[in-house]
Amino acid sequence: MNVLQASGLGKRYGGTWALRECSLTIPAGHVVALVGPNGAGKSTLLNLAVGLAAPSAGRVTVLGGWPAGSPAALDGIAFVAQDAPLYKNLSAADMLHLTRNLNRRFDQASAEARLVELGIPLKQKAGRLSGGQQTQLALTLALARRPRLLVLDEPMAMLDPLARHDFMATVMTAVADDGVSVLLSSHVIAELERVADYLILMSRGRVQVAGEIEGLLASHRILTGPAAEADKCSQRPVVHVRRALAQAHLLVRATAEDPVPPGWEAHPLGLEELALAYLREPGAAALPGPAHSRNAEPSEVTK
């Protein structure tokens, strides 16, 4: 089952396109990191996926083909928006009651137990909780709905390191226990490497990279060698070049089995380096499938 499928999806606000020609197929059972700079269209994509906005072009379906925003989609998707919106003057118990009323499935017992574990008093008004507690409360409400897909929009932006750790621990435990798929957006890549196994990289309203992280990292290499040879050394497509006077680093799409040009060294790379390189090359893309052959060959750009 695909938790999200978008074809030609676009969203226009007034005259500007916040998202264009977005085609994605995200399989279930993954923790998907949606990464990109501010204004890349991450929130737009998430809002379209959860039904808070209607597409201007194309379509998006979720959870195996249900239109985004339809009752079946709303049932199976839990969304925690940025800043974890809660009704500030309602108590935690009221929020539980509210969420229970508005949903088909709600695990009241485990939600209450979880709040006790977190040390959040049920009678406390949500507005009086700390930022970390509010986020945990919002997450508890979302998980108690037993969703198939959990969507998180920059969930950790306002949290201190301990709260961030606890938040991700909760999410990962839910993945381990229930097999829920997660789609979370962030502009901090370093934190995501531990938790995500699927990457979607967005820039300027378009999807640049989409795929399993393991596969992406296995299919890219950094070649380091003489700057003078940088333009002609590699047989494989070059994504990004960083050049100094004597030395250059090339990010190429090659695996560990591919031969290394003589005089050059090959290194594996990490997620952050990969993401930054693609973000610096707006024309480059690493997308699965023949439908994106237009973007499949990245341009070679010299500095």
Binding site: G51, L74, P85, R105
Partner: protein, 361 residues
């Protein structure tokens, strides 16, 4: 992490979606819990009004009974009773003060429904729950609309009782008369009675709901609702209401006092309109025959003088007997308007979701 958790696996949406959607009654507690502050405020306001109207209304009825029962009507003592009736509760006599009630209820209950969600961002929570956004909006708006309209309707029963003496026939002493025999159709009193009061409250609420959706912030939405409502109320009272049924026109001078006079004009013998200043000129020329007053002739003798000289007065009016017809007409179009506004609000939620039609950062 040690607490035992329910081990049910997430059910597949395919199974659930084929079942009926979530029952509407789930929204009852939600609506109450989120709007209990506004609703209790309305209840308090109405309660205070009821108390006030009850107390003053008893005085008014009492004074009326005393004044009309007094004989002879031209004696000093009876004139004093007439005066005391005229003075009792006279701040409510024209009814304009109470016009504010539907506006306030509509603005303070209707506008925050959507404006507060959009302003605080909680729509991102509320409209991604299983119940969905547009159904949530529809349930809330309809529930609250019914509540405010019903409360207003109940109040208007009391208002009808309160204003009852003011519609009674003309009663005069020597130099004073009771301020009665108002037309039930006159603006200020018409929309406090019958179904109009409830209908106006409903319309104000519906305007508030739409304003909240379009303006997305609570205080500006409330202000916009008050402004729009005021405009609509004035337009209805000044321009629309008189055209609900074709007005009657008569040249008789003794139009019943309970009729609502829409316009009056004098015509010359040849059918030309004549202004008041020209009329008073004519009357001045006939000075010795009249009671000696310049300006607009008030006494019957002035009018008779004009009639004798070939002038006719045409009065366009609506008879008091049309009160209930007018009530249903006004109630009808207000109900239709409210339904349209609420439907439009729900449609906007369904179509646009919660996002502004401009690019988010």
């Amino acid at each position: 992490m040690t607490a035992p958790r329910a081990l049910t696996a997430p059910a597949s949406p395919q199974e659930d979606a084929s079942v009926r959607p979530l029952p509407w009654r789930r929204m009852a507690w939600v609506t109450w819990r989120q709007h209990r502050f506004a609703l209790t405020g309305v209840a308090a306001l109405l309660g205070a009004l009821v108390l006030c109207l009850w107390i003053v209304g008893l005085q008014v009825h009492h004074a009326y009974a005393a004044a009309t029962a007094c004989h002879p009507a031209s004696s000093i003592a009876c004139e004093q009773l007439i005066g005391s009736f005229n003075g009792t509760g006279h701040f409510l006599a024209t009814g304009y003060v109470l016009q504010a009630v539907p506006a306030l209820i509509g603005a303070f209950v209707g506008a925050p429904v959507l404006a507060r969600e959009l302003e605080t961002g909680t729509f991102r929570y509320a409209w991604t729950q299983g119940f969905g956004g547009w159904r949530w909006t529809l349930a809330k708006l309809v529930t609250l609309a019914v509540l405010v309209a019903a409360s207003a309707g109940a109040l208007s029963v009391l208002l009808s009782w309160y204003y009852h003496p003011y519609f009674q026939p003309y009663f005069a002493g020597n130099s004073m008369s009771l301020t009665t025999e108002s037309s039930p159709l006159v603006g200020g009193l018409f929309d406090l009675r019958g179904v109009a009061f409830a209908a106006w409250t409903l319309a104000a609420f519906a305007i508030g709901g739409l304003a909240g959706m379009l303006i997305r912030r609570v205080v500006p939405a409330i202000l916009a609702t008050l402004a729009a409502y005021t405009g609509l109320a004035f337009a209805a009272g000044l321009y629309l209401r008189q055209h609900y049924l074709t007005a009657l026109v008569t040249s008789k001078l003794n139009v019943p006092g309970s009729a609502w006079i829409v316009s009056q004009r004098w015509l010359t013998k040849g059918g030309q309109r004549i202004s008041q200043s020209a009329l008073s000129h004519v009357l001045q020329q006939g000075g010795p025959e009249l009671a000696g007053k310049g300006g607009v002739p008030k006494s019957l003798s002035s009018w008779q003088y004009l009639v004798q000289h070939g002038y006719t007065q045409w009065t366009t009016y609506q008879p008091a007997g049309r009160f209930w017809t007018f009530q249903w007409i006004e109630g009808g179009w207000l109900l239709a308007l409210s339904a349209l506004l609420i439907a439009l609000t729900v449609w906007l939620v369904r179509r646009r979701g919660g996002l502004k039609p401009i690019r988010p950062t």
